[in-house]
Chain length 165, copies 2
DNA sequence: TATTGTTATACTCTATAACTATA
DNA sequence: TATAGTTATAGAGTATAACAATA
């Protein structure tokens, strides 16, 4: 367990990270802002999926996902086909043009990182990647199980507990 | 030097970090969004300074800084006094109310991190902090010295080079 | 003429709420 | 009645450009 000063320093780094994000953003094609890039990357990573699934992976509201997807569909990078199993739903799939766009994004970001992190060792890059992945996971877990006050004090009876949904 | 797959994975983590940022943002008092918090924190860290200096530390355009500062001044958390040495300039200084606000921010973020990172060791927190600080520094360095194409081929003369500003 | 700030405008990302179509 | 998705609206962050005041 870290102390308060360590947490404060970590938060400062989180805040300063915005500068890195903006630097990367400036590098992106103006047609493909970060929201679009995230959609493409996740579809590439996880394969075809529904809107709700993508929203979950993006960790944003579905209304936001809908906007980003619309932008990406307009540019022909993904297609939205009706789900035969549930007519409310739509299946998202990367197009060849979408794949090409991903390759271009990858080319640009890789080049930027190769320049900026030229003096980082392989292991340092891997370490930062691991820690950030774990950070995200730790926040996900906490969101799933928020500050439960004191653990529930069980009644001192033998009665079968009611099902609390 | 890392390979392309490692860089791609790191970029994915950067993108996913937005979820952590939003989680923290939700925790903040609505009167004090992240822009305001950054202003307060930097003033606390570095002491009184001018707008341009703060803009540099925030790594955003001064127009953005001006907006954030105005918001914070309206709430009485900092004061903007004229700089006697340069009447174009203004000196920013934290007020006691600003200090109180910082304490409140610190209280909230510390509590959140203590919950989310409960199973992180002291050393892991420190490691992530270090790596993110270095990341920021590496990007700063690259911005200062961008992709210089081939190193300048010097003319084969003995003439004193003209001063190129 | 150059620098320090401020303001106007525009764009991206995000969330909430209202709405449509289907289950 | 509940769920999948869309759209309208609003708020925050950012950048560019035009502007004012001062150096």
């Amino acid at each position: 367990m870290a102390d308060q000063a360590q947490y404060e320093e970590l938060i400062r780094q989180f805040s300063a990270f915005g500068a890195v994000k903006r630097e990367i953003g400036r590098l992106m094609p103006s047609e493909c802002p970060s929201g679009s890039a995230a959609v493409l990357t996740l579809l590439d990573r996880h394969g075809d999926m529904r809107m709700s699934n993508l929203a979950e992976l993006l960790a944003v509201d579905m209304s936001v996902t809908s906007r980003h997807v619309a932008h990406v569909v307009e540019r022909g990078w993904i297609e939205r086909s009706p789900d035969p199993a549930d007519k409310r739903s739509r299946i998202l799939r990367l197009t060849p043009a979408g794949r090409a766009q991903i390759d271009e994004l990858s080319r640009r970001t890789t080049q930027l990182l190769a320049e900026c992190l030229a003096d980082w060792s392989d292991e340092e890059v891997a370490q930062l990647t691991r820690l950030m992945a774990r950070l995200r996971a730790s926040f996900d877990d906490s969101r799933a199980a928020p500050h439960r006050p004191p653990p529930p004090v069980l009644e001192q009876t033998t009665r079968t507990p009611a099902i609390t949904k």
